[in-house]
């Protein structure tokens, strides 16, 4: 039987800045096992296992004649290669919408995770 190893973390941001590259979750709520780099916003897996990952963000408010997409990519770097493992996107003329994702994946030791903009003008807070 496989013994589960404790590993979990939660990070967040208080900024409502638009994210054009890596999502800057720059505050740590808790972290047990693994490592989170608060300058690169990247989490490194310490224990192989199947993880549930949740993340959420908002997007810039729509203008009269211009809708703003809010898209993101969950990136996995394994060794020297980086993959997109999930793409989240809101393309509606709506305001203060929370866009969320629930993602399950089997990770290996030293896998690195981060969320980056996938287009448009995503924001971490409305």
């Amino acid at each position: 039987m496989t013994q589960r190893t404790e590993e979990r973390f939660k990070v967040f941001s208080r900024s409502n800045a638009t994210m054009f590259s890596t999502f800057e979750y720059n505050r740590v709520d808790f972290i047990v096992g693994g490592t989170y780099d608060i300058s690169t916003y990247e989490y490194t897996i310490e224990n192989a296992g199947t993880y549930l990952i949740g993340f959420s963000y908002s997007k810039k408010s729509p203008l009269t004649n211009n809708n703003f997409i809010g898209a993101s990519n969950l990136l996995l770097t394994r060794g020297d290669t980086t993959y997109t493992k999930s793409h989240t996107r809101m393309n509606e003329r709506v305001n203060i919408t929370i866009i969320s994702n629930s993602f399950v994946y089997r990770f290996e030791v030293d896998d690195k995770l981060k969320i980056v903009s996938g287009g448009g003008q995503p924001k971490l807070n409305a």
């Binding site: 496989t2 013994q3 589960r4 190893t5 404790e6 590993e7 979990r8 973390f9 939660k10 096992g33 989490y43 224990n47 192989a48 296992g49 199947t50 993880y51 549930l52 990952i53 949740g54 809708n67 997409i69 290669t81 993959y83 997109t84 493992k85 999930s86 793409h87 989240t88 996107r89 809101m90 393309n91 509606e92 003329r93 866009i99 969320s100 994702n101 629930s102 993602f103 399950v104 994946y105 089997r106 995770l113």
Partner: protein
Amino acid sequence: MIDIFSQGISFRAYSLSRATISSGQNLPFNNESYDSQGTNDTSTYVYTIDIAGTYLFTFGWYVVGGSGATISLFRKCSGRAVVIQQSTNGSSTGNNTSFYVATIAECQKGDEIYAILASGSCRLTTSDLTEANNNTSFSGSRLSS
């Protein structure tokens, strides 16, 4: 993020195609990342429970512009199919808007789990992808007995 499953019973399937899916079909997650029990069928897109327990299931999909969609996640037990979770976008959602669902269900050995596009149309990626990159997935993991 939390490691709640370790490397126990789980599967994950995905698609590389942005093709529009028609109603009445199972969502065609036809590639696998992993399948611990070997019971996920990548031709019928049905996962069969090998060991009873409480499971977490997730799936994702995208809106086809101008089209509504209703997707039902079914658990078929002893020949009787029951919807355990639905996902829908209404009627005026922008093209390629994503929807992700996570739900928990108690399952018995032999139960079949699958997601059907009950009405409308949808897609599983926003563009055709190459292997190892994914947009959405269909996954299940056993949480407890």
